[in-house]
Amino acid sequence: MSLKLGVPSKGRLMEKSFAWFEKRGITLSRTGSDREYAGHVDGVDGVSLVLLSAGEIPRELAAGRIHLGITGTDLVHEKLPRWEQQVQEVAPLGFGQADLIIAVPACWVDVDTLDDLDAASSAFRARHGHRLRIATKYHRLVREFLTDAGVADFALVDSQGATEGTVKNETAEAIADITSTGETLRANHLKILSDGVILKSQATLWRSRTAAYGPSEKKALDAIMERLG
């Protein structure tokens, strides 16, 4: 059997992951046509490349179907409640930096902290008869963060994309999403709460704690770890 390395299957995350390994003397490449998700590993023996959606990599690591995997801290924390027991952080990769934040309309001059958000939620609910809605796809992280901070009277509404637009469209009053430069937020007239950073995320190489490591997988893992220094 070989050591399975899971890497995001498309876009900049894939390119940067490939480049990161290249720098360490391990060449990852896609084989076959552009549309075929098959890959090849050179520079170290006994490793096979598995191309996956970044969102599925946490689950595959937790299930032990891949031994190593690259994905964001945000996705690991959101999808694996007991991530410390299921995966081990091998190395932060220095790209894909993004913060999971809570943002509200910039026109809410009276709201700058979670304390303000809580008070505004209370008044909002009394006025409108429903809870203040926060659009997000990070339900668990956001709920735990707000509950821990003692914010009440909010409701999470699911938004899998274009989350910044939900406020203008009045399907949500605030959002919780990933941002790297804040540009999209500004363009949509939103601002980040000053204590509203839930998580700082970046692309990270993880090792599964649940996968089976036979002699050949162990050998391949040692060889990779040696390259990483």
């Binding site: 309309p105 026109c107 001059v109 902290t113 006025r127 668990r140 709920r143 509950t147 409701a155 203008k168």
Partner: protein, 362 residues
């Protein structure tokens, strides 16, 4: 997992024990409309209950407890007074501890009676106490009503009192609010700047979203009024602190709380109810001299309780959740009653845990 047949057998025995005490057995659907539960508990419930859905009925939850459906049933067509008992599965989503059951049997006893709340409290506690006899559990009790009375009677603005009441069940935020209203915590610099600004609404970003400009202006007004209000006095703050730290056997706790009432006289009514309950428990044969009372008990895990609260714990098994819990939830009946309300108190038992403890003791 425990032998299910044994658990069901014990559950049936407990339920018939409660029936003999005068309760009518009730059944409730396993699937509950999610909206009611979300409205009551907020987003927290999603972390604790399984949610499912279909295109016709929308979101449904696998019953996380019986209290809500039993209250609804009673409010719809129950005669007064009423006593109910039930036994069945409840479902709790577990995200942190794989050793905690996500499905287990609960047996409960609920009393809806407006004649004598102290007697009803004692009745529920004593029945559950009896059912747990021989298991050597520690009982903890408390009364959220004492803290609520203390807050409602503070000499401060109604807005502050409402904010504190809203966070009775969130001790951290409650403390933060108290520090701010008591002038112990610094105002965040952004708020100070906002209050100093001549026209804080003069900004160069568009007003958007459902929260209107008027609502923003209203909150700024509220913040200004709050900044102008006197802080809650040191005497009252110290009284609240002492109140929250009371943790003694029942008669001593009451004595201690009567001392607190010198500074916080608003709690005397609630303390009279505690005293009446002590008498009622004694009349039921409960040894109150050995019963613990913690003034802050029940603040973190029992959001709908607003009076007497209790729990039974296996001291030698700190890994286990409480074996039984219960309390008074008058406010819940108000929220579910569409204008109607009835004082209510109840408790639930976990037969699976009772068997586990019994077995370990053998």
């Amino acid at each position: 997992m425990r032998n299910r047949a044994e658990t069901l057998e014990l559950a049936a025995r407990l339920r018939s024990h409660f029936e003999q005490a005068g309760a009518a057995a009730v059944e409730t659907p396993i699937l509950q409309p999610a909206e009611t539960l979300l409205d009551l508990y907020g987003e927290d419930i999603r972390g604790r209950a399984y949610v499912t859905s279909d295109a016709l009925r929308g979101e449904q939850m696998l019953r996380p407890d019986f209290t809500v459906p039993v209250v609804q049933k009673h409010m719809e067509h129950g005669a007064e007074p009423a006593r109910y008992t039930y036994a069945g599965e409840v479902f709790r989503r577990q995200e942190h501890d794989p050793d905690r059951a996500n499905e287990y049997i609960q047996v409960g006893y609920e009393v809806f009676d407006r004649t004598n709340p102290a007697a009803a409290d004692a009745e529920v506690f004593a029945l559950i106490f009896e059912a747990l006899e021989g298991l050597q559990l520690r009982a903890a009790t408390g009364d959220i009503g004492v803290l609520m009375a203390a807050v409602q009677g503070l000499r401060t603005t109604d807005r502050r009192k409402a904010a504190l009441m809203r966070h009775i069940w969130r001790p951290r935020r409650f403390r933060a609010l108290l520090d701010r209203f008591g002038g112990r915590a610094q105002m965040p610099p952004t708020r100070a700047a906002l209050l100093e600004a001549d026209d804080p609404m003069a900004i160069d970003v568009p007003f958007l979203g459902k929260r209107s400009k008027a609502e923003i202006a209203e909150r700024i007004e509220a913040l200004r009024a709050d900044a102008a209000a006197d802080p809650i006095s040191e005497t009252e703050l110290a009284g609240l602190e002492t109140l929250l730290s009371v943790r003694e056997t029942m008669p001593f706790a009451l004595e201690h709380l009567r001392d607190v009432a010198v500074d916080l006289p608003q709690i005397n009514g609630a303390l009279d109810r505690v005293e009446a309950r002590i008498d009622a428990l004694q009349a039921r044969g409960v040894n109150v001299e050995k019963l613990d009372f913690e003034a802050s008990y029940g603040r973190t895990s029992m959001e709908y309780y607003d009076g007497f609260v209790f729990g039974f714990y296996a001291e030698r098994r700190p890994d286990l959740p409480p074996i039984a819990t219960g309390g008074r939830y008058d406010a819940l009946t108000r929220m579910l009653g569409n204008g109607a309300e009835i004082p209510a108190v109840g408790g639930v038992l976990r037969p699976d845990l009772m068997l586990e403890i019994k077995e370990a003791a053998r």
